[in-house]
Amino acid sequence: MPVDQLSATFAALADPTRRAILSRLLSGECSVTDLAEPFEMSMPAVSKHLRVLERAGLIARRREAQWRHCRVEAGPLKEVADWTERYRHIWEQRFDQLDQYLQQMKTKETKRHGRNKRKK
């Protein structure tokens, strides 16, 4: 995915209503009317959020007779999830390794203490 696409995805996610819409869609496709219901918002306002999500590639819309349906597009979301999870994972792993290594350092230092004066 190009970097600016990822950026657009993140920008689209940086809004609580749009994240709530996505959370709802994660449990399955639904109509725009059903989607708008819990948000106490005008249809145009909801449509605007949907357009942002669509442009970011996060959702797809389709028309069936007079009904408009939305569903989540997993690709960009997966990119975001991968990116953040990788970030978290890298640091968590680094810190776990550091913690384990510090135990070795402590053991070595305790042994050294017996022979030498403690270094500054």
Partner: protein, 167 residues
């Protein structure tokens, strides 16, 4: 979630204190002096930094621990290498270390890491605040924290993505 047998791993937390920052904190069962040393001497860095294990290593570690001095760490993995480098800005052992960090693949994106080491009854709490430079990266960080806040589970996303890719 990483499965680990390391101690104190449940103390690991990621937060986003401001639009441009991400903060990582963790408790280490060692005095500050040792934690600081482990992060600023190559003989130690090579033992814990980066991905380690079969096929992984840290073949390059350069540290010039002076204000304005450079550092560069390379992590070798089975498919190649990834490198990070930067410059030290503040060095106050054992309580504070500020440095820049650049992922060699994205040299335009310079982040600034402020590591604060605080004593908690002989243990050390490390708080590393990473500050990102650009709107784009800031948005990534912002959204990553918010996605979590909204309760979007990454496991759920993975499942969903896998399912959709198969269908």
């Amino acid at each position: 979630m990483v499965v680990t047998n390391a101690r104190n791993s449940d103390s690991f937390k990621v937060t986003t204190p401001s639009e441009q920052e991400i903060r990582l904190t963790r408790l280490f069962d060692a005095p500050r002096r040792l934690v600081f040393e482990a992060m600023t001497k190559c003989e130690h860095v090579k033992q814990w930094w980066g991905c380690l294990g079969e096929g992984y290593s840290v073949p390059v570690c350069e540290i010039d621990l002076r204000v304005g001095g450079r550092w560069r760490f390379v992590n070798r993995h089975p498919k190649g290498e990834v490198a990070f480098y930067g410059e030290y800005r503040e060095i106050t052992p054992p309580s504070r270390l500020v440095f820049t960090e650049i992922f060699e693949q994205f040299p335009d994106s310079v982040s600034v890491v402020t590591a604060v080491y605080s004593d908690e009854n002989g243990k050390t709490r490390l708080t590393a605040t990473v500050r990102y430079p650009s709107l784009q990266v800031r948005d990534m960080v912002l959204a990553s924290g918010m996605a979590r806040g909204a309760g979007i589970s990454y496991d759920r996303l993975e499942e969903l993505a896998d399912g959709l890719q198969r269908s």
